[in-house]
Amino acid sequence: MAVIIELRNVTKTYKLGDEVLNALDNISLTINQGDFVAITGVSGSGKTTLANIIGGLDRPTDGSILVDDKELSHLNDRQLSDYRNHHIGFVFQSFNLQNTQTAVENVMLPLIFSRMKARARKSRAIECLQAVGLGDRLMHRPNQLSGGQRQRVAIARALAVKPSIILADEPTGNLDSQRGEEIIKLLKDLNKEGITLIIITHDQNIARQAGRIIQIQDGKVKA
């Protein structure tokens, strides 16, 4: 499998007053295309920071990150936004859906930023919602859906732009175990279709299902 993500000596530091905090400390790793990777670690270990840097939401203080041979740390805001729009599908623990909009409208959001025409993006949004089993909940607003259904809408939104990587940060954190398993199964199905899946989790049951586990401790890769 080809390498899709490569981190070389990535360091991320935060300044808290006079104190300098190393969120990521000289991390180097590669992730292959189509991999299912679980990033685990205790709270504050740096796993979310790592995910944010891979997702182009944050920039490393030092080191370089290549995604599809593209050096992210050299990209300007416009290029980085386009990278997120075209390559990354984010799934968040708290879903981050817009309550005033319907499921279809929520899924269409990334397509608005990729300048897709209204009719085409609606049809794509419906397609994605059907793929996650919500074909009968298209016009429902988030507050009319269960937690599991909301996360499915969020996954449909992540799928909308046909990303090469899905970054899921504690995707089951707000769900009961049964709904959580359903969501993981859905994500695994997407991974089987060729999408690189990176799940940030502290749940070992989920981590064990991944093809590879990257454990972060004090900003470093433990194993």
């Binding site: 939401l57 805001d77 936004s81 075209h86 981050n96 959001l109 990334p110 930023f113 990729s114 732009v161």
Partner: protein, 486 residues
């Protein structure tokens, strides 16, 4: 992001917080409404005045006066009957023919104001008569007729027009046509010596009544009454309006009214009598001198009250006025120059009133800033999501600027609509007032298209400017922090 998506998203966000958006728009409406109404009133008033002059072709007119320091439109004639005053230049026939030949002059109307009349009687109604005017009927001065016809070239003595003020006072308000054809009496003061006067009776009165009076006692014979037929009613605000209560007659009749008819012993006859006994020794009984009738053309002697000169175009009027001043050393004023000076005051009033409205708009802008900042605080997480799924900083900035601009635009549109509704309500009221004053103008309150466009563009720009700071604030949000904002 597509332009239509900016509009759709911005509208969606505005409608999301309906009450807050409505209150913000309301503040803009107040500002837009103030600016629109105040400027509409100022520009409508300005337009109305200008129209009144344009309708009568007044902008092509130059008023020539014996006085050098003439103000256009002033009836204050210091040189009336003061031909001996060196600062007053007599307006003569030769001057009229000279001006007629000047470049850009298409016509000259000679004007005179007749003195000596003090009353206009119709039936039992006795009204004060302010002035009788007369000028050539060559089309240089155009009157607005509310009924009947104007004085024509074939009219002689006994024909007159009155202003709508007179018609109203005589009880013909709203029915001017009924006054046409009616006879009125013009009352002249005791020593009036023009056409229709009785100089012999006046002479007898002087010889008898005045002689018996003690010095200092006012000796005045009974006045003279002249009858005239009303052929038309003119608009009191028009050129024949004067100070409202004015009668217009033909120039020929006015010349007659200004004549000085005297029935007196001539100085020569008096001298013959005085010298009769010079070489006579003994008793001498000289023959008593007989009074004779003398008629003096006072108008020819004193010159015209004014000349109204018509230039070929309004733009040439100022130049013609200057040429007349230079050549004849008389006063010559064109309407446009004078009106421009008067209208300048409206620009100042407009600027002040518009400024007050502008302050309201600034306050509204602060409201927009406040609303947008609040909105950004509430939507921080949403901004984070948008950034995560591919929104650029510039996209976020534009989206919020768009929202603020739309708030401004909505305020502007509502302000204009309310202002328009107010003009619809105000026009009938103003029409009624104007009609009451004999002015037949209607619907003077109108919003010029440029004002509508300016207000809409202005409020949109104000909204946009007010949105710049919040939009920048939103665009600069760190997506990671925004996503975790509680």
């Amino acid at each position: 992001m597509r332009f239509t998506d900016y509009i759709t998203l911005a509208l969606h966000n505005i409608l999301r917080a309906k009450l807050r958006s409505a209150l913000t728009v309301f503040a803009v409406v107040i500002g837009a409404l103030s600016v629109t109404i105040m400027l509409t009133i100022v520009f409508s008033a300005k337009g109305f005045i200008t129209n009144q002059f344009e309708q009568n072709g007044t902008f092509q007119q130059i008023e020539v006066s014996p006085e050098q320091s003439i103000q256009w439109g002033s009836n204050d004639n210091q040189c009336q009957g003061q031909s001996s005053d060196p600062s007053c230049v007599k307006l003569t026939e030769s001057m009229v023919s000279g001006i007629t030949k000047m470049a850009h002059v298409v016509g000259v109307a000679r004007e005179t104001q007749v003195n000596g009349f003090d009353g206009l009687f119709y039936g039992s109604k006795k009204l004060k008569l302010n002035q009788i005017v007369a000028y050539d009927t060559n089309g240089v001065v155009q009157n607005t007729m509310l009924a009947g016809r104007d004085i024509g070239p074939n009219d002689g003595n006994g024909v007159l027009t009155v202003t709508s003020d007179y018609a109203d006072a005589l009880g013909f308000k709203n029915n001017y046509q009924a006054l046409v054809g009616k006879a009125v009496t013009l009352h002249a003061q005791g020593w009036y010596s023009g056409v229709g006067s009785d100089p012999i009776a006046q002479n007898n009165y002087r010889q008898t009544q005045c002689q018996s009076m003690t010095p200092g006692q006012n000796c005045e014979p009974p006045g003279t009454e002249i009858t005239g037929k009303i052929v038309g009613v003119t608009d009191a605000s028009g050129p024949a309006g004067g100070n409202g209560y004015t009668v217009r007659v033909s120039l020929g009749w006015a010349r007659g009214m200004e004549e000085n008819q005297t029935y007196q012993v001539s100085p020569m006859a008096q001298s013959v009598t005085s010298n009769y006994c010079m070489n006579v020794h003994g008793p001498c009984n000289p023959p008593q001198p007989k009074p004779t009738l003398t008629i003096t053309d006072e108008l020819a002697l004193n010159g015209y009250t004014a000349l109204i000169v018509k230039a070929d175009t309004a733009s040439n009027a100022a130049g013609v006025a200057k040429n007349i001043r230079n050549q004849y050393k008389v006063g010559a004023a064109d309407a446009e120059t004078a009106i421009k000076q008067q209208l300048a005051i409206f620009n100042i009033i407009g600027a002040i009133l518009g400024g007050i409205g502008g302050i309201a708009l600034v306050v509204a802008a602060v409201g927009v800033i406040n609303t947008m900042v609040m909105s950004i605080l509430e939507r921080t997480r949403e901004i984070g999501v948008m950034r995560a799924v591919g929104a650029r900083r510039s996209t976020i900035s534009r989206l919020f600027t768009f929202e603020a601009s739309l708030l401004g635009l909505f305020g502007g549109v509502l302000g204009i609509l309310i202002a328009y509704a107010l003009t619809l309500v105000g026009n009938p009221i103003i029409n009624h007032q104007l009609k009451g004053n004999g002015i037949s103008s209607s619907n003077i309150l109108s919003m010029p298209p440029w004002l509508i466009v300016s207000v809409l563009v202005g409020t949109t720009i104000i909204g946009m400017l007010a949105g710049l700071y919040p939009a920048q604030k939103a665009a600069k949000l760190n997506p990671v922090e925004a996503l975790h904002y509680e």
